[in-house]
């Protein structure tokens, strides 16, 4: 008891008695240690150590990796979430987000479905090197591209491009397997009919369940193809859904698809708040983004000083995060799309290009923080993290 005066405050004796009782009968906290961590680990473990149980060929350019947990426990997730897969390729440790394509009601495994990418780095590694039985490290399910019953309409329009079908696959499977009261109209764009992932399953589902409509749209179809062709246009959408109001529109696919489809939706007078889009990684060539300074080429080389840890080389056309990883420096990352702030670093000097849509907090901007996955050097830099 610190000071004498406290004893003279009315009610003091009673409180002292209460404390004595607590000392005697109060909760013994000595067993509370570790409880929070073990609880959180069941919901959001920092890492998942997974095993590939099956590799399923989907199309000539894509495969599904079925991932199980050796301890048998996988955290629950909402359809539309992704996991970030850690890849050790040679001396480089990097990661890539992949949406889970299996439905959340199925907790025995997570499926991720990967399509090969031209000049890809991690995708070819996962597709060519990973075999059943291999171990894979991943993050817990993350992201916010999920159906939200509070503000989304029960009637949804899904617009997918290429591998962007994966979160929708999880949602569609959940809706039909769990008998959820929603209707879905899926427009699924691909270059050729051979590229269409999950075609047979989608066809089967749409024939069997009236609540799901499936419209493949093929850019350059093979002879004999009778479905919709070209890109997913406003006309195609309107032609199928008719009434465009009272629906929520979800987009997932490569940046080029957003560039095309968003104006199309605008043309149908779909209000902006009815359109949800998944982030889907950086564009293939950042130097073509609006606002890129034209005098700086993709291969312009710069030096990045990392306070207290030396220097690395970086190219303008590559995200700072990639350059760091290339030099063997591991920066925590999750979405690699500028959204989650996991890869946040402080920019002490130098200029970077940050594409539109990076979710940077106002005060991070004020105090010079950047998301390294969505920041491209335009000159020599000094950073700190």
């Amino acid at each position: 008891m610190k000071q004498d005066f406290v004893r003279k405050i009315e009610g003091y004796d009673e409180i002292v008695r209460e404390r004595a009782i607590c000392r005697k009968y109060g909760l013994d906290y000595s067993t509370e240690g570790g409880k929070i961590r073990s609880f959180i680990n069941r919901l959001h473990p920092p890492r998942l150590m997974l095993r590939v149980s099956d590799v399923i060929d989907e199309t000539p350019s894509s495969k599904t990796l079925r991932l199980v947990s050796p301890e048998g426990y996988l955290p629950p997730f909402q359809a539309g979430k992704y996991i970030s897969i850690i890849a050790d390729i040679g001396p480089i440790r990097t990661s890539r987000p992949y949406s889970i394509s299996s439905p959340p009601n199925q907790r025995g495994y997570y499926d991720i479905t990967i399509r090969n990418r031209e000049n890809g780095f991690v995708a070819p590694h996962l597709l060519n090197r990973i075999k059943a039985g291999n171990r894979i490290e991943a993050s817990a399910p993350s992201g916010g591209f999920c159906f939200n019953p509070l503000i989304h309409d029960r009637a949804s329009v899904f617009i997918a491009g290429g591998s962007g079908i994966t979160p929708f696959m999880s949602m569609i499977r959940e809706v039909v397997e769990c008998g959820i009261d929603r209707t879905i109209c899926l427009f699924y764009g691909n270059r050729s009919d051979a590229d269409v992932i999950f075609h047979d399953e989608l066809l089967r589902i749409s024939q069997r369940f009236r609540q799901v409509t499936y419209v493949p749209v093929i850019e350059t179809p093979s002879p004999g193809y009778t479905g919709a062709r070209g890109y997913i246009t406003g006309d195609i959408i309107k032609g199928v859904v008719g009434q465009t109001g009272g629906r929520t529109y979800y987009l997932c696919g490569p940046p080029a698809m957003y560039d095309f489809c968003l104006p199309e939706l605008e043309g149908l007078s779909i209000p902006r708040h009815k359109i949800r889009r998944e982030v889907y990684g950086p564009p293939p060539d950042i130097t073509r983004s609006p606002g890129w300074p034209s005098h700086i080429g993709r291969d312009a080389a710069f030096t990045v000083g990392i306070r207290g840890r030396g220097e690395i080389g970086a190219r303008a056309g590559e995200s700072l995060l990639n350059s760091l990883e290339r030099s063997g420096i591991v920066v925590p990352a999750l979405c690699r799309s500028g959204e989650c702030s996991m890869c946040r670093v402080k920019l002490i000097s130098g200029r970077v290009f940050q594409p539109a849509g990076v979710l940077l907090r106002k005060s991070d901007r004020q105090f010079g923080y950047i998301h390294s996955c969505a920041a491209y050097p335009l000159e020599d830099l000094e950073i700190m993290f």
């Binding site: 009315e10 909760l27 509370e32 840890r309």
Partner: protein
């Protein structure tokens, strides 16, 4: 990275931040470790679409006015961050509503509060005057005795203090007022303390009323993340090192004294001083470990209980606040007048009847959200316990069900609200548990009973070199936690100095 520091600060919440910045400014070599990728703990924000949602700051106390600067002014000045921040004063304390029975706005000045209450409750005109007279006289005693550091605090000099400091607030409300609606309107700030007036000391309720009325509630431009970032900036500017995504794994103890810290990545840091902003459960049982933890540290916790957590809806609206009838930055919405009933409901999942707070920052700071938009944080106090019982498969559905119930009630007061929502995010007590790693998901720490207050706790650190600061070790809220970090840093500096002069 150096492996030897004067001080390791564990956790970059309000208290960890001010402690680290204070130490670095005094020339100590300090490293701060934070599990998350961003500083602030509760004092943070997150982005969804075009909105940056404020996580926890509703009404900042302690800034004062140019004529009557509050203690927080000096504190921020001392850290070198005052000039990097802009504050927005709120004109009113709050609007308090009970459907069909009460709808009252209390302005943030003494005459205004008394006038508004007397206007609505004319029969209790005198009672209202007497009550605020007591609050003010009580608090001026507190100021003379403690802020002015009177060396001789006696019942003769400070009769009200000695009579009322430990008295429960409910009995004082009951002694002054008859109308339950009036008691509600005056006592509703209990929500900021997490205990109903029956369990709350009158001294605490008086302090909060006095502080908000006299020093004015305010908000920080850019939100609480700006404050956190500014303090980190000052810390780094003074040579401090900070590691994000890097939790502390262990505090190394030898011969009853702190010797170092091991990070989650296995790096070992040598130090004689640790300042922990993490909860006592984490600090004593996980970082130090049962074997090295002095029994007295655990004894001190006995009888304390985790405070309430929150169920929060963050809603981004695609309209200005007026468009849906939001005219006040702070709104308390109750279904009934019984504080104890409201408190009982904090132990349930259901939100059909729970009291909740709706803050709309854009009312006092129109630039807070993007042009033509605004955001609301709708918060109900909820203990973590029932949420811990929800089976994993039911969690998402339960979250939406509770949010639905609150949104229905919001809609009744602010017609058209629902239709304007563009982004929405829900945080449950489990979300707090996850982001803050706090037992009970409790940003307030332990329940604020007098018996667990600093009056009765031993001020001595249980281990040589270990210092603690934050809501778990004192009072919750921005002003108290920011101050507790500075106080702990000063204690460390004093101890360092004492060690220096020793031969």
């Amino acid at each position: 990275m150096a492996t030897e520091y004067d001080v390791v600060v564990i956790g970059a919440g309000n208290a960890g931040l001010t402690a680290a910045a204070t130490l670095a400014r005094k020339g100590a070599r300090v490293i701060m470790l934070e599990r998350h990728n961003i500083p602030g703990g509760c004092a943070t924000s997150f982005c969804r679409g075009r909105f940056e949602f404020e996580v926890s700051l509703h009404q900042l106390s302690g800034m004062g006015t140019p004529e009557f600067p509050g203690p927080l002014q000096g504190l921020l000045q001392g850290l070198g961050v005052r000039d990097k921040l802009e504050f927005v004063r709120m004109e009113d304390l709050y609007r308090v509503m009970v459907p069909g029975r009460l709808d009252l706005v209390l302005p943030a000045d003494k005459g205004g509060v008394i006038g508004a209450l007397q206007g609505r409750f004319p029969a209790e005109r005198e009672n209202i005057g007497r009550f605020f007279d007591l609050v003010y006289r009580f608090f001026s005693e507190v100021i003379s005795a403690f802020y002015m550091k009177d060396p001789e605090v006696t019942p003769e000099k400070y009769p009200l203090y000695f009579k009322y400091a430990f008295r429960d607030a409910q009995s004082v409300l009951d002694a002054h007022f008859t109308d339950p609606l009036l008691k509600l309107a005056v006592g509703i700030y209990w929500c900021y303390m997490g205990l109903p007036p029956r369990l709350l000391a009158f001294g605490d309720l008086a302090a909060i009323l006095f502080a908000y009325i006299e020093l004015k509630p305010c908000h920080i431009k850019g939100g609480s993340q700006t404050l956190s970032n500014a303090i980190v900036d000052s810390f780094i500017g003074n040579g401090g090192h900070v590691r994000f995504n890097c939790g502390a794994e262990k505090i190394i103890v030898r011969d009853g004294a702190v010797r170092g810290v091991v990070t989650e990545h296995g790096d070992q840091i040598t130090t004689r001083y640790v300042l922990s902003n993490a909860s006592p459960i984490t600090t004593f049982l996980e970082l130090i470990g049962r074997d090295d933890c002095p029994a007295v540290a655990l004894d001190e916790l006995k009888g304390a209980s985790y405070s309430t957590s929150f169920f929060t809806i963050f809603a981004g609206l695609r309209c200005e606040p007026e468009a849906v009838g939001i005219a006040e930055a702070t709104n308390f919405i109750c279904a009934q007048t019984d504080f104890d009933r409201d408190f009982a409901l904090t132990r349930t999942l259901d939100c059909d009847e729970s009291a909740f707070i709706m803050s709309c920052y854009d009312v006092s700071d129109p630039g807070f959200s993007p042009p033509g938009a605004c955001q609301c944080a709708i918060v109900a106090m909820k203990y973590a316990e029932p949420w811990l019982q929800v089976p994993p498969e039911r969690y998402a559905a339960e979250k939406y069900r509770c949010a639905e119930a609150i949104l229905r009630r919001v809609e009744a007061h602010f017609p058209g609200f629902r239709e304007q929502i563009e982004e929405i995010e829900i945080a449950t007590p489990l979300t707090h548990l996850r982001y803050l790693a706090q037992p009970g998901g409790s940003p307030y720490g332990f329940e604020q009973h007098v018996k667990d207050s600093s009056f009765f706790r031993s001020p001595k650190p249980p281990l040589k070199g270990l210092y603690c600061a934050g809501a778990w070790y004192g009072q919750p809220g921005y002003q108290p936690t920011l101050a507790s970090g500075v106080a702990a840093a000063r204690a460390i500096l004093r101890e360092m100095k004492a060690q220096e002069v020793k031969p």
